[in-house]
């Protein structure tokens, strides 16, 4: 039996639909994320589930009983739910112990029992030693743990989480993600998790509802949402770097479907064909994830799409390379950073590589570039160990320097630039 059910739920403010007739069902014990950009209605949906806002249309049910409807709602304090707020909302006038004990005391539990359960709970979130601290004396991560403890110590039927990790730094976020998952697995509490962070949603949820403009775009398992996005929006919202999208025609040839676009003729197979509802001859959009593009900087199969490298971003464990092809820009993802170096990029661009290491060398390099036949790729190298400037400033400075270099060049189309081997920027 479904645990929580939203049927045709809307929230309207004047003419604006914050939430526009959404349907959503959660199984008991499920972990579901509401994922979407800011302003998509995910928090409003959560607040309606909590009872802080009433729907203007539709009903919210729990085990078949109406919780919210335009005609009236069960107030939040009677819903047997818990919530972790974006601001944590830890009461600063109470100690950690008092914060966690609050919900239990409301349930008229005996003092000894309260103490025992608070103790156990604080143990679980590793906060026992800080029980008598006030929230102002805690770090962000510790406050987050208190919020988690306070919310689950009452053993709620449902736990609502409103972007609980958005105020934490990256390391802590990963740790808390794990912590919340663990609590979910151990307690079996139904969880509704609101986030704009696709990594959080993908890594934690059993199902994700992707929202946009007050509507649910797709509600499915994370891998299904990633592999088989139901709309252009979902396809481009999920995944970083973003999916490559190409317009083309669906053509049937020798019993197989092909995607045909300038320079491309791609036979479609397997699950892709099974899910395709469009008939042959339709205009379709093809989505290709960057990691599904196989990049050959040199050589490669004869029917490969040929392109010119325009942007290289080294992220450490992987490198994002963007190429310009007849089909349009193609973004690819390559593991590690070894395959990409300046000389290779220059060759991939079909250009001669030149380096500028000091501003004084500018003039010399320009003359050299102009004397070289064919396109030239100039690399502005900045010593990464130079102390006073932070890397970003350094990169910007180098870019600036490189740009002014290009501006002073009479033959402008000829020179492309790359900065510190990290970024290639073409100036035409």
């Amino acid at each position: 039996m479904s645990r929580l059910k939203l049927s045709g739920v809307s929230k309207r403010y004047g003419d604006f639909f914050a939430v526009d007739s959404i349907n959503l069902e959660l199984q008991s014990g499920e972990f579901v994320s509401l994922l979407g950009p800011s302003g998509c209605g995910k928090t409003t949906t959560l607040r309606m589930i909590a009872g802080f806002a009433d729907p203007t249309a539709g009903i919210i049910e729990m085990d078949g009983q109406v919780l919210s409807s335009p005609a009236g709602s069960v107030p939040p304090d009677r819903r047997q739910m818990s919530m972790i707020f974006q601001s944590y909302a830890i009461w600063p006038n109470m100690t950690v112990q008092q914060n966690v004990a609050f919900g239990l005391e409301l349930r008229r539990m005996r003092n000894a029992e309260v103490k025992r359960r608070v103790g156990e709970m604080l143990e679980v979130v590793h906060m026992n030693h800080l029980a008598d601290r006030y929230p102002a004396e805690l770090s962000g991560g510790q406050q987050q743990r208190v919020a988690l403890a306070r919310a689950i110590v009452v053993r709620p039927d449902t736990l609502l989480l409103d972007e609980p990790l958005s105020n934490l730094d990256a390391n802590l976020r990963e740790q808390m993600r794990f912590e919340i998952r663990r609590v979910h697995d151990e307690t079996g509490i139904t969880m509704v998790y609101v986030t704009h962070d696709q990594v959080e949603a993908m890594s934690m949820s059993q199902r994700i509802a992707v929202m946009r403009d007050g509507r649910i775009q797709q509600y499915d398992r994370p891998e299904a949402i990633y592999r088989y996005p139901g709309s252009r929006f979902v396809a481009s919202f999920i995944g970083s770097p973003g999916i490559n999208l190409y317009e083309g025609d669906l053509i049937s040839r020798e019993g197989a479907l092909h995607f045909v676009a300038p320079g491309v003729d791609l036979p479609l197979t397997g699950a892709l064909v099974e899910r395709l509802s469009e008939p042959a001859g339709a205009k379709v959009t093809l989505g290709v994830r960057p990691e599904d593009v196989l990049l050959h900087l040199e050589g490669g199969p004869p029917d490969a799409l040929v392109g010119r490298v325009t942007v290289v971003e080294s992220l450490g464990p992987e490198t994002i390379v963007t190429l310009e092809t007849t089909l349009g820009d193609v973004t690819t993802r390559v593991r590690g950073m070894q395959p990409i170096d300046f000389a290779m990029v220059a060759r991939a661009c079909g250009a001669t590589g030149l380096s500028v290491e000091r501003p004084e060398d500018c003039g010399r390099v320009i003359e050299q570039a102009l004397a070289t036949p064919g396109p030239v790729l100039v690399e502005a190298v900045v010593d990464p160990h130079e102390p006073p400037m932070p890397p970003k400033v350094r990169a910007e400075q180098a870019l600036h320097f490189a740009e002014s270099l290009a501006r002073g060049t009479p033959n402008r189309g000829k020179i492309a630039l790359t900065v510190a081997s990290d970024t290639v920027r073409e100036l035409v």
Binding site: G51, F52, A71, D157
Partner: protein, 578 residues
């Protein structure tokens, strides 16, 4: 936690009936609050306007009151005088305030904390006490400054005469310049040094930068301060009554008061108060649109790093000027006031044989009226502060949580008294509640109600600011764990608001203890407060006892303000809430 009970409740709440019940509750709450506000704010203002158009006995519609009010050259002269006073004060206050604000905010002038403290002292000094101090200083011939002048030059007569328009402008300006100061310095605090650096790097010197960049940036704030001190000056009753009346000229407020001399002519007073009301409303609107349009939007933007301008030797000149203004506003008047409070006869000067505690003894032991007035003042002010803050907190809560429809109407009514001069409000209260059926004239109730209305805007802005600083999620966390709204308010909201409520309480209490302009129209024989008694004593010319009473009021005020600063942080009163 059992599903059955949850189901029951869900059913219970899912019907149309519950929807109506809930709507009912919120409408009842709205009606209750609007009724209170109608009684406190709307009715007195409406009654003021209505009664200005009514015949005294019959209540028939008439313009006669306006004919009487404006058909007299003396009355028109008083209007002109008020405008002159307002403009003079606004300009002089700017001259006092802006250089000091600039020096404190932007330069390395010495002893800034001290100067700031003195501005604060000028702020908490009731203007009528300043006026009394200045009467002792610059009364013709007998005033201290005149005596010093005569002793130095051997002249027959003194050169200062406080009983003049110039004297009145000076007295009001020295007590109201802190308004302009607060406006200017809060704006200056937001101008980042980078803006000045940008001008410097283009070759402008410090003086040029200040005049061309810094001051224009804060100009809207200065104009705002000018408008406030102008309005302050034209609405003032105490200082003009002490100075203008003996000087034989009237301003609007003293003229209004004369309408209340026997036989009381409320309708004419109401008609006569209209320009004051209109000017105030208009000027506040002007000020809002000025500050709203470009004032702080251009100035905010994070302030940035601020470095102090090194003035070199000029820092001492600047400090001298600050001391001069402080002398005019605090040192000199307070010195002579203290001297008079402890003197047998103030004119006999500073000597041991002139020293006495009798004035205090007389007030606190021998005489009963003063004790009563002191008691009344503090009780009324305390009750007023509680009432204004309870009401405004309730309304601010309802407004911020959108518990009722049309909640903005409530907020608007709460801050509306801000644009009504105290003296005009008092006439409205008199017109509305002095006659039967309520017949509240001379009761403590009408005073407390009047004060509550008068200070409702202060209470509301502080309560609303306090509430805004608390994330609603704090309460929602209580609700979702199973606590009701009242529990959330009691366990979380009130404890978190404690500090700002205490601050708001003091912000209402202090002006209430010194409120004269509305009190003078509403007191009866048994409800006199210190400010009114001070005024009566001045009419008797008993400056020694008067000064002693003034000192008592000042000590109490300073003590409360001191406690406030300790609790809530230094100079909490000099902050500008917008």
């Amino acid at each position: 936690m059992t599903n059955k009970s949850l189901d029951d409740r869900a059913l219970q709440f899912s019907g149309v009936a519950s929807r109506l019940r809930r709507l009912d509750a919120s409408i009842l709450l709205w009606l209750a609050l609007i009724a209170v506000l109608a009684f406190l704010v709307l009715n007195p203002i409406l009654r003021l306007i209505v009664s200005s158009l009514q015949e005294t006995d019959t209540g028939n519609f008439t313009f006669a009151n306006y004919r009487v009010a404006y058909g007299n050259v003396r009355h028109l002269q008083a209007l002109a005088n008020s405008l002159e006073l307002g403009v003079g004060v606004a300009l002089l206050a700017t001259l006092f305030a802006v250089p000091i604000a600039w020096a404190i905010s932007r330069t390395d002038m010495p002893a800034k904390a001290f100067v700031r403290l003195m501005v604060f002292a000028a702020f908490v000094t009731p203007p009528y006490l300043g006026a009394i101090g200045w009467i002792l200083l610059a009364g013709p011939n007998s005033g201290w400054l005149n005596k010093v002048w005569m002793a130095l030059t051997g002249a027959e007569h003194g050169i200062f005469n406080i009983y003049s328009m110039t004297g009145l402008i000076l007295v009001v300006a020295v007590t109201s310049f802190p308004y302009t100061f607060v406006f200017t310095s809060s704006a200056l605090d937001l101008v980042s040094s980078e803006m000045e650096d940008a001008a410097n790097i283009l070759g402008a010197r410090t003086l040029r930068t200040t005049l061309r960049i810094t001051l224009p940036l804060v100009a809207p704030a200065i104009i705002g301060g000018i408008i406030i001190s102008f309005l302050e000056a034209i609405a003032l009753f105490g200082a003009p009554a002490l100075i203008a009346l003996p000087a034989r000229f009237n301003v609007v407020s003293t003229q209004l008061w004369q309408f209340f001399e026997y036989p009381v002519r409320v309708e004419e007073a109401a008609a006569y108060s209209m320009p004051l009301l209109a000017i105030t409303v208009l000027m506040f609107w002007l000020q809002r649109s000025l500050l709203g349009r470009k004032g702080y939007t251009s100035v905010t933007g994070k302030g940035g790093e601020r470095r102090m301008i090194a003035l070199g030797a000029w820092r001492w000149a600047m400090f001298g000027y600050a001391l001069f203004v402080c002398a005019l506003s605090v040192f000199l008047p307070m010195l002579v006031l203290l001297q008079a409070a402890f003197a047998k006869a103030w004119g006999r000067g500073f000597s041991i044989d002139n020293l006495t505690f009798h004035n205090f003894y007389y007030l606190l032991v021998e005489q009963t009226q003063a004790k009563q007035a002191i008691f009344n003042t503090f009780v009324y002010s305390a009750v007023t502060a509680f009432a204004a803050i309870s009401l405004s907190l309730a309304i601010a809560y309802v407004v911020s949580r959108k518990l009722v429809p049309w909640s903005n109407v409530l907020a608007f009514l709460c801050v509306a008294p801000f644009v009504v001069p105290g003296i005009v409000l008092a006439i409205g209260f008199y017109a509305a509640y002095a006659p039967p059926p309520l017949a509240l004239y001379g009761t403590a109730t009408i005073l407390i109600l009047g004060f509550t209305t008068r200070f409702l805007p202060i209470a509301y802005t502080s309560s609303a600011a306090g509430l805004r600083s608390i994330n609603p999620e704090m309460e929602e966390a209580v609700r979702i764990l199973g606590g009701g709204r009242l529990l959330a308010i009691r366990k979380v909201l009130i404890p978190l608001l404690k500090k700002s409520l205490a601050g708001a309480w003091i912000l209402v209490f202090i002006p209430a203890t010194r409120e004269l302009s509305s009190a003078i129209f509403l007191v009866g024989p048994n409800t006199r407060v210190i400010s009114v008694m001070l005024f009566d004593l001045s009419e008797e010319g008993n400056f020694e006892v008067l000064s002693a009473l003034g000192v008592i009021l000042l000590i109490a005020t300073v003590a409360i303000a001191g406690i406030g600063s300790k609790m809530i942080g230094r100079d909490f009163m000099l902050r500008r809430d917008s």
